[in-house]
Amino acid sequence: MPYSTDLVDYVLTVLLPQLLHGLVFGAALGLLALGLTVIFGLLGVMNFAHGELYMLGAYAGIVVIGVTHSFWVALIAAPILVGVVGAVTEMTTLRPIYNREPLYGLILTFGLALVFREGARQIWGGDMRRILPPFTGSTPLLGMTYPNYRLFLLAASSVILLALWLFFTRTRAGIVVRAAVQDAEMLDGLGVDVRRVFTLTFAASGALAALAGLLLAPVFTVYPQMGVEMILLAFIVVILGGMGSMGGSVAAAFVIGITQSLFSLWMNPQRVAIAIFGIMIVVLIVRPRGFAGREGVLE
């Protein structure tokens, strides 16, 4: 039966690799969106500078690789560097405005994003850069071959997401962060230093964004505007998952990643973007709390 072999062929050579692409991208997007949604839960602020922390992660990676010639050292050092930037930013600019309306946080982070983006352009220039993957080659998998680095990307992101899940459910520190997302004032009343929780969480969220930026850098390109393109997608993921919901964000990241890569089989990139925006509009109209958001929160 030629028809069925054609179908098998299509699934193996077209559909499956694209599905895997979607999974890989979704996992990295999950890292980015997770930090964003935790910050949203904590501060009630959509952090517009989150995309710039993602961008800084890739550039910090380039710098560390330039010094040490090791991708692996960069993978540890870059998130730490960006985490420090995040902590300093939080202490100097966000902390004074916690008691104000969320609008101010939105605008402040917009200003921060401008400063970071232009700062990166001044330091590293505006042209596209690449980070070479630490290893090349591909692995035969289910009748197709798939690049090793992408498989590593998927594995690394999944391990980190799993570790974060364990952190949030099994450790005291993780439970404190979740409590702060629920009700920071109550936590303060219970004697926890909430300001320190905020600073450390902001730093960690920046480090996660940086990790996503560096992990994706060998697949994409590095340039000062790279955060602007990603942040919109990350926003969409956060809404779809339900703002402030961590599990929802990760699930939504995979949904968006896979949807995007499958749609791009049948449509040009412009239509894919519009289709994803369309899905988003429908979600916001019909079920604004997303997959797992609490009902009525900020609606």
Binding site: T93, I107, F110, L232, Q270, L284
Partner: protein, 315 residues
């Protein structure tokens, strides 16, 4: 005239004499054009942000659609200002009707995100549609004609066009804010549920505010190509919406005059700083951060701080 106020009359009269200032070059007149246009847009947005309490992250789409409406007509040989503005009102009105219908059903961050995503759809459409020039947009437009025989071909004439528009838009906003409609908007900002319990159809009021703000911004967009001779998709980028919001914040939320000053200040700052250093976005971002941290009521709030410690400026 009562709603307009004598101080506004004086300021507009002074602005009208600007082209007579000795040494006023073509460059400065066009800069003044941009400053006043940006101020007018920020003022329209203030109607929504400052008075109704809705932050729109999609005003760039209203602006850009207005600009494309003019560009598309001009490309096809229509040069009348009235036709262009009329077409812009139609196009922007239809789009704003859809956006405001869906967006005003949601509050807070969801309103902001809905307007943002709708605007991104419009941006993506124009960015990739070759009929409208794709990423280059529509370039090389002719000068517009106000009446047969009166072509807006000099910077002075263009400047007066935007000045008349700003005065008109300001008068509309002032009247609106002082009217019953405006009072209800403020009531919605302060406590939406209470306004609803008082029997007001809250969504209809919010839609009304959204439509007026969008249409005023759309007209500003329609005027822009008459000075720049182009319309590009970058006019609709969400960062442009961010710049409108910045202008409102710089000037002072809920004051109408503040955002005009804020928009003009922002335009002139961008122009002046960018002619000295090429890292002007750092300066602008820094100014924004300083304003949020130290003067949350904007430039106009500063005045009140020094003058008398009277009640709230807005409403």
């Amino acid at each position: 005239m009562r709603a307009f106020g004598w101080r506004a009359v004086v300021v507009f009269a002074l602005l009208a004499t600007l082209p007579l200032v000795p040494g006023m070059s073509r460059y400065y007149l066009l800069l003044a054009f941009d400053a006043l246009l940006f101020g007018a847009i920020a003022m329209s947005l203030d109607l929504l942000m400052g008075y109704t309490g809705l932050v729109s992250f999609g005003h760039a789409a209203f602006y850009g659609l207005g600009a494309y409406a003019t560009a598309i007509l001009m490309e096809r040989g229509v040069q009348s200002v009235w036709a262009c503005v009329g077409f812009a009102l139609l196009v922007v009105g239809l789009y704003a009707l859809v956006v405001s219908y869906f967006a005003t059903a949601r509050r807070g961050i969801y309103f902001a995100l809905l307007t943002l995503i709708f605007a991104e759809v419009v941006y993506t459409f124009f960015r990739y549609t070759q009929t409208f020039g794709g990423s280059d947009g529509i370039q090389g437009l002719p000068d517009a004609t106000l009446f047969p025989g009166l072509v807006l071909d000099t910077p002075v004439r263009k400047y007066y066009l935007v000045l008349v528009y700003l005065a008109g838009a300001y008068a509309i906003c002032r009247v609106l804010v002082a009217s019953h409609f405006g009072r209800v908007l403020v009531a919605i900002r302060e406590n939406e549920d209470r306004a609803r319990f008082l029997g007001y159809n809250v969504q209809r009021y919010k839609m009304g505010a959204c439509m007026i703000s969008a249409l005023l911004t759309g007209v500003a967009g329609a005027i822009y190509p008459m000075r720049s001779a182009f319309a590009t998709p970058d006019l609709m980028l969400w960062t442009e919406s961010g710049e409108f919001i910045i202008s409102v914040m710089i000037g002072g939320l809920g004051t109408l005059v503040g955002p005009i000053i804020g928009g003009a200040f922002f335009t002139i700052l961008r122009d002046k700083v960018s002619s000295f250093v090429d890292w002007y976005f750092i300066v602008i971002g820094g100014v924004l951060i300083v304003i949020v941290l130290f003067m949350p009521r904007g430039l106009l709030g500063l005045r009140q701080l020094f003058a008398r410690r009277s009640g709230r400026a807005a409403a």
